[in-house]
Amino acid sequence: MIAYATTFNNLSGNAAKESDILKIVKEDVLRMLRERKKKTSIGIIKDEIKVAHALIYEALEELERNGLIAIQENSISLTDLGQESAKNILEKHLVLEDYFEKTRRKIEAHTAAHIIEHYVSGEVINNIKKLSTLKMGGVPLTKFELNKEGVITDITFSDYRLFERIVSMGIFLGEKIIITNEISRGVVVKIRNKKFALDKIIAEAIKVVEYERY
């Protein structure tokens, strides 16, 4: 079950980010309409998405203006364009949740999916989507072949600082990766035109699957 817009329980303290929040409210409205597959009243939306009502009206107004929803009296439905857009959003969440369930505990999987669904780039989502159809979680980078294109499926470190360093360098889930050189104590990899020398210990903590496989 997907929780709607739980992101906004704590809206009061964050007045500065309206545009950002509005985007997420809009996405959640679309997703909700898509899931219910029928006309929905504003009241139901207000109940499910627990944010300031003014924000819901604003979101609905914008969605209507963009031609994504149709509002007739009190009932709201998706337009064809809205259907398409909502499908993507719903898919994105399901893909992520499904994917993370393979690598994390269930509750963590839901949270992880929820955290990044609104942000993660289309390319990364596409890669993850393809990955989630694979049962395997990938092999450690140390066991991966030289010069073969792979995709990062998991990064696990017990040391958070090392994890953050790696992520901030651009080594992230769903990114394409190629081992370009083997060095005596590890590997040299290429990710998005950037090269990194990685120690064996780090390479072992990064799981990859072959890009061709999906």
Binding site: Y119, A197, I202
Partner: protein, 628 residues
């Protein structure tokens, strides 16, 4: 109008120093705290009556406190009281630059985004919509090219108006559980200039430096306990931040398919990162650089020595007057200083700067890793060790690039065996000049052997948990010669302004001590040392003076023995003298830097132990050689 202060922040190799150069130009005074890669450089210049001080910071990927670079930059961000920040972003990998930008925006520091490598990105088919990026982040986004000065004027104009942070700035929305934890912690933070949300985030991410802003220690524990959905809250924060950064990047980037990019970069790496040819090429390049330095050093020393000699004889002074002594000793010191500074210090830093700016240094670091790991050292220690060939003092400071204090100390202890320019000058200028090249070479070999024994001895005693290798390898680039020169000058300034005057002063002080006869009082009690070394008693004077300032060693030796050294000492004695003065923490300045980095006790123990070890080794070495 009041002056303003601006920090330059960006990833390693993103072009911060090139930008600084483009902003202030090489003619402007640059004050610098010595050290490499962990240094802060400040430079000031007036633009239309507004003085702007730029503070260049070490390259980092995120504001965290993992490495010393990050600590230095974090401190600069929060303690320099800067008016704003220029984030230098890499257009070829915008998402990474945005990760850090988002962190800085979370700290609500007024920010301007300078987009570098726009042309490189376009060659790779990446187009970035600056207006759109500006719209999302609500900060100025300015494409720049420090080499052609494109965008520099606009950047300066924008920076001059940086004063206030706009109201509607972009912030990341974290998961609701995290947001509510942030909210909880925020309500219990002390009043500071930093935004509460930022403090709460840093605390949740486990940065203990920020715990001091919390009213009590329990808050953070409680907040983490309440986050059952996020057993790894810090990781989830990092994921969200990177996710946001890549989301924004996707929104503002357009990819244009291109024909295959040039393969030459890959070709070079195939050789330089190969398991066998890589280390080989690294070793050979370093040897070649070393050879060139020694050759040029010899050449300039010859020129300067004859120049001073002819100058002194043309003065034709009266004998034994104080003025003569001051002139002679002072000039000798000056000549020595210049003949060391020019080849060994300046040229060395020039080569180092070239290696850095071409992208070769990082490949060399990867190749040296294997050998260094064998010695119980992390690959990154390559940088301070290479710097040690210039001067031990800044190299000691550069050990900060290493993660743990044990690693730092272990690396610093090796400076006893990595001859700095002054020691190279002794080996070449004294041992080589008076005893021949073979003898000079055997001093290098001996001190290397002594170093190996030391290293493996230490490895047995101290367990060092070293950091795993994690290094970005920048693309090969054509270096901007002007930049390399500026960087070398910055690094050698201290040598010129501190060491050369010390050399002149040292020569004069010795002259006074000698004339007054005090010198012999010092020599007597140290008789056992010279007996052990098999050297004339007076030799202890250059050794002692050498510790005050290493370059005094040569000058003092000439003072006590006269210029006919080969008459006073035989070949074996010259060799012993060379070894005894090479091994060990070289001088007071190095000791001072060690004290600053590792505390009085550890610094003193290391210095005394290494010097005694050197003297013992020198005595043993000549005995073994004379038996053979």
């Amino acid at each position: 109008m009041k002056d303003i202060k601006i920090l330059l922040i960006g990833q390693p190799n993103v072009g911060k120093s090139s930008l600084l150069n483009a902003l202030v130009g090489p003619k402007v005074t640059v004050s610098n705290y010595p050290g490499t890669t962990v240094e802060i450089t400040k430079a000031k210049k007036s633009f239309n009556k507004i003085g702007i001080e730029f503070v260049d910071t070490p390259g980092i990927y995120s504001i965290s406190d993992r490495s010393e670079e990050e600590k230095v930059t974090e401190r600069a961000l929060f303690e320099e009281e800067a008016d704003g920040v220029i984030v230098i972003a890499d257009a070829t990998s915008l998402e990474r630059s945005l990760y850090m930008t988002l962190q800085i925006l979370e700290a609500q520091i007024p920010t301007v985004l300078a987009l570098n490598f726009v042309e490189d990105a376009e060659k790779k088919g990446i187009r970035i919509d600056c207006e759109r990026l500006k719209g999302i982040l609500q900060v100025a986004v300015i494409p720049i090219n420090p080499l052609t000065k494109k965008g520099i004027d606009t950047l300066v104009d924008t920076v001059a108006k940086i004063k206030r942070i706009p109201k509607r700035i972009f912030t990341i929305e974290y998961d609701d559980h995290i947001e509510s934890a942030i909210h909880k912690i925020s309500s219990q933070t002390e009043k500071t200039s930093m935004p509460k949300k930022f403090i709460s985030l840093r605390a949740l991410e486990g940065d203990e430096d920020f715990y001091k802003y919390l009213m009590n220690d329990k808050i953070i524990r409680e907040a983490k306990e309440s986050l059952k959905e996020h057993p790894k809250v810090a990781e989830d924060i990092a994921i969200t931040r990177y996710g946001t950064a890549s989301f924004i990047t996707e929104k503002v980037t357009r990819m244009i398919p291109l024909e295959k990019e040039k393969k030459s970069q890959e070709e070079i790496d195939r050789v330089l990162l190969h398991k066998i040819s890589g280390p080989l090429a690294t070793g050979l390049s370093l040897l070649a650089i070393f050879g060139i330095l020694l050759y040029l050093g010899n050449l300039t020393q010859g020129v300067f020595t004859s120049l001073t000699e002819s100058l002194l004889s043309s003065l034709a002074p009266a004998k034994h007057s104080i003025i003569t002594m001051v002139l002679v000793n002072g000039l000798t010191g000056l000549a020595l200083g210049v003949s060391i500074a020019l080849p060994y210090v300046f040229l060395f830093y020039l080569f180092l700067g070239l290696l850095e700016d071409t992208g070769l240094l990082s490949r060399f670091t990867v190749n040296a890793e294997w050998l260094l790991k064998k010695m119980g050292l992390p690959g990154k220690s390559f940088i301070p060790l290479a710097l040690g060939l210039g001067c031990t003092a800044p190299a000691t400071r550069a050990t900060r690039v290493l993660a743990s204090e044990n690693e730092q100390f272990h690396t610093a202890s090796l400076f006893a065996f990595v001859p700095c320019s002054s020691r190279i000058a002794i080996i070449m200028g004294i041992v080589g000049f008076y005893g021949g090249m073979t003898l000079a070479l055997s001093v290098f070999v001996t001190s290397f052997a002594a170093g190996l024994i030391w290293v493996f001895g230490i490895k047995k005693v101290i367990e060092i948990r070293s950091e795993p290798l994690l290094l970005e390898l920048p693309p090969y680039r054509k270096p901007l010669i002007k930049n390399v020169f500026a960087k070398s000058w910055i690094r050698m300034r201290d040598f010129v302004y501190i060491v050369i005057p010390l050399l002149v002063l040292g020569g004069i002080v010795y002259g006074i001590l000698d004339m007054s006869g005090i010198i012999h009082v010092v020599v007597e009690p140290l008789l056992p040392v010279t007996i052990w070394l098999g050297l004339p008693t007076v030799i202890i004077i250059p050794i002692i003076f050498g510790f005050l300032q290493k370059d005094l060693t040569g000058a003092m030796l000439l003072s006590v023995l006269g210029s006919e050294i080969s008459l006073a000492l035989n070949a074996l004695q010259i060799y012993t003298f060379g070894v005894a003065t090479t091994i060990g923490i070289p001088c007071m300045i190095a000791l001072g830097m060690l004290i600053r980095e590792f505390g009085f006790k550890r610094a003193l123990v290391l210095t005394i132990t290494s010097i005694v070890y050197g003297l013992l080794f020198a005595g043993l070495a000549w005995r073994i050689i004379s038996i053979i």
